[in-house]
């Protein structure tokens, strides 16, 4: 676990760390990944067809549209503009 890896993970995760806290989390993540590395000893290949969690096609939801949700209620945990979610401008 080096700075480059942790920075990449922070990018993927959309998280910021100060330099100081980055050192700490790097140490923690190294220890955690060391624990995770034990799975590498285990020599079996994953076969997704054997997961036994599939369903048959007739169990899949039928295509019936139902009334949507009240827009105002949907947006009740944010401050919308014109019933839209607001983000910083995406293109210049």
């Amino acid at each position: 676990m080096d700075i480059k890896t942790i920075d990449h993970l922070c990018n993927l995760s959309k998280l910021n760390y100060t330099d100081e806290s980055k050192e700490k989390v790097m140490g923690e993540m190294s220890a955690i990944i060391e624990l995770m590395d034990t799975v590498k000893e285990f020599d079996v290949v994953y076969d997704d067809t054997k997961d036994n969690n599939s369903i048959s096609y007739d169990e899949v939801r039928k295509d019936v549209a139902k009334p949507s949700f009240p827009t105002e209620k949907l947006l009740s945990n944010t401050q919308p503009s014109g019933n839209c979610y607001v983000v910083p401008k995406m293109v210049d």
Partner: protein, 476 residues
């Protein structure tokens, strides 16, 4: 050094389901912002996607018409990235187990048939829409489109010109429309195309660096974007510069492509199986039933029109190039089993009205049955063929029945022998020279005299009866 383009496509097509692919909101186009949304498609915490069986049926149909292999086992994956039009911050898509694998579609370009290979077709969800507000410097997200079912058709890099791409795109569009899977409305974004282009010397085994032009939503844009990219890359290579592998946006106004500010970390989507959606196993019976339910494709219709109906290949193509037109024809034939005159009238007369913008088949005031009736009236000599046009225009205008219009405008063939005789006599008297010529064996003037009679009678007599009496009289 002649540079040769190699092009591959990713075509997104929205499916015509009633509800969205993972929730029960309406999948209709448009609507007030965030009015066709629920906690599921808006990505509220705790909500879960539930797959729509119809979307699965439609992608299987799409797969069959493109000659794909349908996977007996299929599953869904999450494609993770942050973007404000993607409320869950992952798109549900398919990675290692798409519904359709392999396939091919034949296209004819400049009289030459080519086979374009399909790599895969998978089912995924559409994202929302962003509107940009320059004044407030914000973007506004509307999630109505979130969760509209999409199929992504990925081709092999089998294309080498814009013309091939357009031919393929139009053919796919038509086939999807015929299959009832996608409405193909490009202006509503129902189909969008990403184009991958690279240039290399012909017969070189080394492929050039490719660029990807995203989100082209009209055939014109596809054509222009490809032509521009070929030009741009050629210039770069000839000037000894490098083509950068990147994602590009095509600007409709300038006709140029420009680099999209790359979605950060776009290259690591961290696909993994979506634990909320169980994989599906299809039985042979289920797949056979879906396959059997696929409507006739345009090529099959052309074959039927030319074979069974005796319609010319050219006319059959015109009739089938739009599913609306073809359906109108089919329904008219159902009402009046006389395909040839119906076909001809549609190709000649109806298509003209459509091309002139007078008629919109999506918003038609008359029915296929009315059209059939119009043709029947002419074929049974109740009205003249010329008057079909007048009546058609009125049908387009008012939606009145053809009989009503014939009645109101007095367009019935009256079979009034007295009027006929009188008119023919008058024409013959007015054109003694033509009569003379005919009698001297110059029978080609018959057409001229016939025309004069038609004009004078304004459809009050059938061409057959005019012809019979005129011939009689000319014999003297």
């Amino acid at each position: 050094m002649k540079l040769y383009p190699t092009i591959g496509l990713e075509i997104h097509a929205e499916l015509l389901t009633n509800s969205k692919v993972f929730c029960t909101c309406s999948a209709e186009f448009g609507g007030e912002p965030n009015s066709r949304c629920c906690p599921v498609c808006s990505g509220l915490p705790g909500t879960l996607p539930v797959l729509n069986a119809k979307a699965v049926e439609y992608i299987i149909k799409a797969g069959y018409i493109m000659n794909c292999e349908i996977s007996r086992f299929t599953k869904w994956d999450r494609k993770n990235y942050f973007y404000p039009d993607l409320p869950k911050a992952y798109q549900i898509s398919q990675m290692p187990r798409p519904v359709c694998l392999g396939g091919h579609v034949d296209v004819t370009v400049d009289g030459e048939q080519k086979t374009m290979r399909i790599n895969r077709i998978h089912l995924e969800e559409d994202a929302g829409k962003l509107v940009h507000d320059d004044i407030e410097r914000v973007s506004l997200a509307d999630y109505n489109r979130c969760g509209i079912p999409l199929i992504e058709i990925v081709t092999e890099p089998d294309f080498h010109s814009a013309a091939e791409v357009i031919a393929f795109f139009e053919k796919i569009r038509l086939m999807l429309q015929y299959a009832g899977v996608c409405d193909g409305k490009l202006e509503q974004g129902s189909m969008r195309c990403d184009v991958n282009i690279s240039l290399a010397e012909k017969d070189s085994d080394k492929l050039g660096t490719r660029t990807e032009v995203k989100n082209l939503n009209s055939t014109k844009a596809i054509q222009r974007a490809i032509e521009y990219e070929i030009y741009r890359q050629t210039e770069l290579i000839e000037n000894g510069e490098r083509v950068v592998q990147e994602t590009l946006h095509f600007n409709d106004a300038t006709g140029e492509t420009s680099s999209l500010r790359s979605k950060e970390d776009a290259h690591d989507y961290r696909y993994f199986p979506d634990p909320d959606i169980p994989p599906i196993i299809f039985t042979e019976e289920e797949l056979a039933a879906i396959k059997a339910d696929i409507p006739e494709m345009p090529e099959q219709r052309v074959a039927r029109y030319t074979g069974e109906y005796g319609i010319s290949a050219a006319d059959a193509k015109v009739l089938t190039d739009s599913k609306r037109v073809s359906d109108l024809f089919e329904n008219a034939v159902k009402a009046y089993n006389n395909p040839k005159p119906i076909g001809t009238f549609i190709v000649v007369e109806l298509m003209r009205r459509i091309n002139l913008g007078e008629l919109d088949l999506d918003d038609m005031k008359f029915t296929a049955e009315d059209l059939a009736k119009l043709i029947e009236l002419a074929e049974t000599n109740k009205i003249s063929k010329d008057n079909r046009k007048i009546i058609l225009r009125e049908m387009i205008e008012s939606g009145k029945k053809p009989e009503t219009i014939a009645e109101e405008q007095q367009l019935w063939i009256k079979e009034d022998n007295e009027l006929l005789e009188k008119t023919i006599n008058g024409i013959m008297e007015a054109n003694p020279k033509a009569v003379e010529q005919y009698r001297n064996g110059e029978t080609k003037v018959f057409g001229f005299l016939m025309g004069q009679c038609n004009k004078a009678l304004k459809g009050a007599a059938s061409p057959a009866s005019i012809k019979a009496m005129l011939e009689e009289k000319l014999k003297g």
